[in-house]
Amino acid sequence: MSDPAAPPITEDAPSAPITLTVNGTSRTFDGDPTMPLLWFLRDELSLTGTKYGCGISQCGACTVHVNGAPARACQRRMGSLGGARVTTIEGLHPSGEHPLQVAWRTIDVPQCGFCQSGQIMQAANLLSTTPRPTDEQIDSAMTGHICRCGTYPRIRAAIKSAAEKGS
């Protein structure tokens, strides 16, 4: 039952409410500042597309964008996110038609689908910085993401497909 990787419990310092932007909407948080962004998104905003898979930044299922960069929502404390701009899978594209989302469907990437929000969010950042990634660049960017169903070959193909369409 132990959670060896969970942070030690510290004194609950009183903290002022913080304000952040999630998928373009301003949100206020006035709870435990040690709460990871993951649970704020899921429990308080009902944005359940961001998944809990490990809680220690090993699996990537909770990947979101914070100020435009990919971040593991299980590792970002609410107390550190005042003024932050957060994008989740629900906010990646207004109608769910980001080139990666389209490519994921065309290639029928998901099996169970659970890890795919995080995979897509990571891949979106990859393509924004590296529009035509090589296999090695894909490996490097995606290696923090686990898929137990084994969709890696199709993820690689979908990233390449989206890259080709985007160029």
Binding site: C59, C115, Q116
Partner: protein, 810 residues
Amino acid sequence: MSRREHLPWLGDHSPANVSGSANSGVPSPPLDPDAQDARGPSVDSQGAPRATARRDFMKFLGLGGLVIAAGPFGVRRLDAAERAFGESAEPWNPHAYVRVGEDGIVTIICHRSEMGQGIRTTMPMIIADEMEADWSNCRVEQADGDEPKYGSQNTDGSTSIRDFLAKYRQAGATVRALLEDAAAKEWGVAANEVASRNGQVVHSATGRSKPFGALVATARTIAMPAASRLHIKSPAERRWEGKAMTSIDLVPMTTGKATYGADVILPGMKVAMIARPPVWGGTVASVDDSAALKVPGVERVIRVPGTPPPSAFFPLGGVAVIATNTWAAIRGRQALKITWNDGANAQYDSAAYRSELQAAVRAPGKAGRTVGNVTPALAAASRKITAEYYVPHLSHAQMEPVAAIARVTGGKVEAWAPTQSPMDARKTVAQYLKVDPANVTVHVTLLGGGFGRKSKPDYVCEAAYLAREVGAPVRVQWTREDDLQNSYLHSVAAHHLEGGLDASGKVVAWLHRSAYPAIGATFAPNVPGPEPDELTNGASDIPFDIPNMSIEVGPAVAHTRIGWYRSVNAIHHGFAIGSFVDELAHAAGKDPADFLLTLIGSDRVVDLSKAGLVAPASNYGASWTDHPLDSGRARRVVELAIDKSGWRSGALPRGKGRGIAVHRSFLSYVAMVVEVEVLPDGTVLVPKVTAAVDAGFIANPDRARSQMEGALIMAMSNTLYSEIAFAKGRVVQSNFRDYQVTRMRAAPRVVDVHLVASEGLPGGIGEPGVPPAGGAIANAIFAATGVRVRELPVGKQLAGWMSKATDAEQ
């Protein structure tokens, strides 16, 4: 209970049958579908004594109108006298699996759980095809747990299509015939003059047509078509069965809108984290919850009743922290100070246990199959080769840690869960809470992976219990640490093989002993080890032509909850057998692929129950008549894999290599050629995999391919990285940091899957890719490096391989 239909040796170990357990005397559910017809989908069964029960059951289901029973005597509609429970429900529900609205929307009710195998697409493809429905008007609805209505919902054993293909076809054909009869009646023409085409019934002689929805009113009123009139499509008539189809859940899965277990949110819901005993059978000695209760958001601390081993599907017990949000529950649980009584399994230690297993396989075991006389044949052989293998405990580590939501109101329990077996969940919750199963409803969410873990509904019981205690909806959330440390684990196993070669290098004797704690020990007390019949899960049903064989199983007492994990004992059987065949090939100085083909021998169709298997001679729940051992199918997939992989294109440079293996499991035949690249530091990459699959008729080829891709990558995890070890009764690993699995870098660049075209009876798809992959990977590593891996995981065994004296060079 049908849940172990594919594992019939567990038939006597179901929780309800555990004599003397804390749960005996619990009332049975109102109808047990297996009592009369293990193969339902059936609301009905023949015979007057069950009529009352049936009506009561229908009443409790709230069903009305037209309900078709597909029992052993064919499909029929219950007559009017039996459906006096209110008006016909809207829309029309002509079959347990099909509803048709007057708007033409066809709703197909998927009774199997979706965990990535694609059943929510494949089942509708078959039914809609046979119906001649318009696919764009088809919808899929997930069924609640209700096996009397739907037949088995236990989504494991790779059974969804192999057990239900004919039933799905019959369901679609029945609804189609009814709609055609309705049109014929409306038009005053003979039924054989009309035909369904893409969501309409047409009368080609007059050019009239009517969409399905417009025929519902008439269809409600007419008699069921005789089973003999049903037309199952010929291959040429099929639109979707066996062809490409886009999966139906892709949009929600790629936009974050898909609902998995933990995504269910109920008003006023609390979140629970449970501290469970770290040792199987342990109990709480004392708990100090004062610090936990001070954590903001923590509301209560509640003891959860445990179940002593064999704990079956019931919770391990422990101490639950109830909080307003997940983070508070996590922090609250961290703050608990618990002293445990560890109990009888406190000394479980993987290093010591491995020695026990190895000793067990060095002595004769209980024979699961005997052919000829292996002892003198080994003695007389020109050469005798001996090898031993070891595979540790493994965990499913599905991406979604288990979670369940429940609420209890007015004595009724309602649960939402990512469960592979909602009927087992329903029955187990009822037993655990001591309520009637009629008062338990289990809704099935999408599963974020299952692989066997989510067949066991302990977590659903936890949620239901806590919801009742708290008086509010509760979500029980397992962490990854919980998932690895309190799961049902794949058996640790040791193997000892001896092979005898004659002067020409042909195998004349095969002795295979394995020892591993049995799944049965999770369900029954004092289980000394597996039953010999369990060897039919990939050891005694090998497709090899060997005149003298003895396949034996040794004793092994379980000290943790053993469960089934994708392909079950065929994981370690496949690894050991696939590796040993390769070792024999090298000993004989033959090409491993040629050697494998010789070992398979001439084409034979064998009823193994008459060829040396001990009774009951299980065959993955099927008959040996329907699914004999067909060595020709094994030969063909091996030849196909050889041909497509470039096996004969010449040797690869040192550091690269190909390995081959074949396995029959879950009634399918899969051969794999795996190509590895071993880096100087011992890292194993898999550039290419070629899989050849004969699974009989394959309803959804792309999902079959994806299952092979996934099976290979999961087998890479099993072979290269993963291990659960115990020390002092406790699991050593805690998260993906130390329970490692395949990641992108090592994953294949190419997975080339070849499906044998077949109209044969379907075999499994989800699991059969795993057993050959382990051996093929290990054999490829040997070809690349000369290092023979006999103990899993490979881990760091290959470090420094380039400077090691290799087996090949010895």
